[in-house]
């Protein structure tokens, strides 16, 4: 357990329906300044865990402490105050389609500060320069490619210099070049802002190349954790199948079905 973790999840369980928990007894901590990956198969609960960290969901059991506050104890204003120190990159960017690139990045600055427009302009240019899209400031989100949209969304999520940046499936659907860009940006921004980054993804090989620490989830539980090398060498059969991309193993190739011969005869 790192000292003074920025996020602490203690015995957290959660389920939309109490009879079917999505998260079972999760215990993990995230150290300040690190880039951490939360990985697993689709439906293992990693996005739900991200929502718990965000404060959008309250755990049905256990406690989630983020930036020093227990999320459950926060009221709406407290939650909003906490979120001003966080940034989140949504899966496909979630840019505001009625605003330009510039206005999208300026949005959090304008909504929260009484900064003069010249300062806002310079800050927006700064953020766009950091992601390499300063020249695209006048474009509209519909004119951007997927990779560019995600970079703009990244610029928007760091607009207020957050302490904690959350990434929901940042590598989905990217071509190799955009991919390389995002990977570089995650690392650079984290280090230059002195922030902590949490990446939820199932792109194993790529993520293992950028994170410092991994929490591996399956079926609502954390089944393995460690550095990328630990994970690559993990003896756990499921982790092994996942990391090496084997089609058959603890997660079977065949969906449960009646006996083959019986099914053919029935037709």
């Amino acid at each position: 357990m790192p000292e003074h973790p920025i996020v602490e999840i203690r015995n957290v369980s959660f389920g939309y329906d109490p009879a079917r928990p999505v998260l079972r007894d999760i215990d993990l901590a995230i150290a300040r300044g690190s880039v951490v990956g939360i990985m697993g198969q689709s439906g293992c609960g990693k996005t739900t865990l991200l929502r718990v960290i965000m404060g959008a969901l309250a755990p049905t059991r256990g406690e989630a402490r983020v930036l020093g506050h227990a999320t459950r104890s926060l009221d709406r204003d407290g939650l909003y105050a906490m979120r001003r120190k966080m940034g989140m990159l949504f899966q496909f960017g979630a840019l505001f389609t009625d605003l330009s690139v510039f206005e999208n990045v300026a949005f959090p600055m304008r909504e929260h500060g009484r900064l003069p427009e010249e300062l806002v302009h310079d800050l927006v240019m700064l953020k766009l320069q950091a992601v390499g899209l300063r020249g695209a400031a006048h474009l509209r989100p519909t004119e951007l490619s997927g990779g560019m949209a995600r970079r703009v969304a990244l610029a928007r999520s760091i607009a207020l210099d957050p302490h904690l940046i959350l990434y929901d499936e940042p590598f989905t659907g990217l071509d190799p070049i955009s991919f390389g860009v995002i990977v570089r940006l995650i690392r650079e921004l984290n280090d230059s802002l002195g922030a902590t980054s949490v990446i939820v993804t199932h792109d194993v090989q790529e993520a293992l190349g950028v994170v410092d620490y991994v929490h591996f989830m399956a079926d609502g539980r954390v089944i393995a954790q460690g550095t990328p090398d630990d994970i690559r060498a993990s003896p756990h059969p499921f982790v092994n199948q996942f990391v090496n991309g084997r089609p058959d193993g603890p997660v079977p190739f065949h969906y449960p079905a009646p006996e083959y011969g019986a099914d053919l005869a029935a037709a």
Partner: protein
């Protein structure tokens, strides 16, 4: 008995559907309450609401004005056709004006507003929900209800009475065009009988009250359906359909209630 079971099953489903609708109405009412309470941003940053008045009101002008004109012209034709059989063709102005100001103005303008602006509002909010724009706003500590939903609500509420008045005015003009210019009813009789029979308080003001109520109902339904939509393409399309259907039914039902309250039982 399988037949009785099937019947019971149907009744249970009906009961469940009814109670879920009632529950939904309660949820929608709470949503409206929250919306009104958090309308500070929409009113302080009036620019946002002005933009929504543009999208709901100004962009509906063409359909409202053209429809108003045609409805008025049809009233002129049909009205003359019937009135002249009783030798009462000089009362054409009365017929056209009262029909429009009391009923057709608020109701037809309301129905057109629901299908043009109401569906657009639902689709917009629903799509923002589906593309996670509302969640992104929440994550940036901006309340999406205050920032996105409330301006659209007030934009619609402000636009609707103006559109209804424009519809009625265009309709009267259309009736005048057909009755006086085309058919040849005496213009003096047309306007003077109309002015004698149409009362500002009873008829026109009541029509305005109706349009305000319809505006609130339609815009409330539109923003709620959008906000509550299932965040998929199919969900948004279903929400849009629901907005148009529910708004139209609400307008017609409210019209009956308000007409019964306002236009009957005033005899003394």
């Amino acid at each position: 008995m399988p037949r009785l079971d099937a019947l019971r099953g149907q009744l249970e489903r009906l009961g469940a559907a009814a109670s879920s609708q009632v529950w939904r109405l309660g949820y929608a009412s709470r949503f409206l309450g929250y919306l009104v309470l958090h309308s500070g941003t929409a009113l302080r940053r009036f620019r946002l609401t002005v933009a929504e008045i543009y999208f709901a009101g100004v962009l509906s002008l063409v359909i409202i004005l053209v429809s108003g004109l045609f409805v008025g012209m049809v009233l002129g034709l049909q009205g003359y056709e019937t009135l002249q059989r009783f030798g009462a063709s000089e009362s054409l102005g009365v017929l056209v004006a009262l029909s429009l100001v009391r009923e057709l103005g608020p109701v037809v303008a309301g129905l057109l507003f629901a299908s043009r602006a109401g569906s657009a509002i639902t689709a917009e909010i629903g799509l923002m929900k589906a593309t996670e724009q509302l969640s992104a706003m929440e994550m940036m500590a901006v309340d999406p209800v205050a920032r996105v939903v409330a301006p659209r609500f007030w934009g619609g509420v402000i636009s609707m009475p103006l559109l209804a008045a424009l519809f009625s005015a265009m309709g009267v003009f259309g009736g005048y065009l057909v009755g006086v210019q085309l058919i040849g009813v005496d213009p003096g009789a047309f306007w003077s009988q109309m002015q004698a029979a149409v009362d500002v308080r009873n008829d026109i003001l009541n029509g305005v009250y109706k349009s305000v109520v319809f505006g609130i109902a339609v815009t409330w339904i539109a923003v709620f359906e959008g906000y509550d939509a299932v965040p998929t393409a199919e969900g948004v399309s279903r929400a849009t359909t629901r907005t148009v259907v529910t708004s139209s039914l609400a307008i017609l039902a409210l019209d009956f209630v308000m007409t019964a309250l306002m236009f009957t039982g005033t005899e003394k």
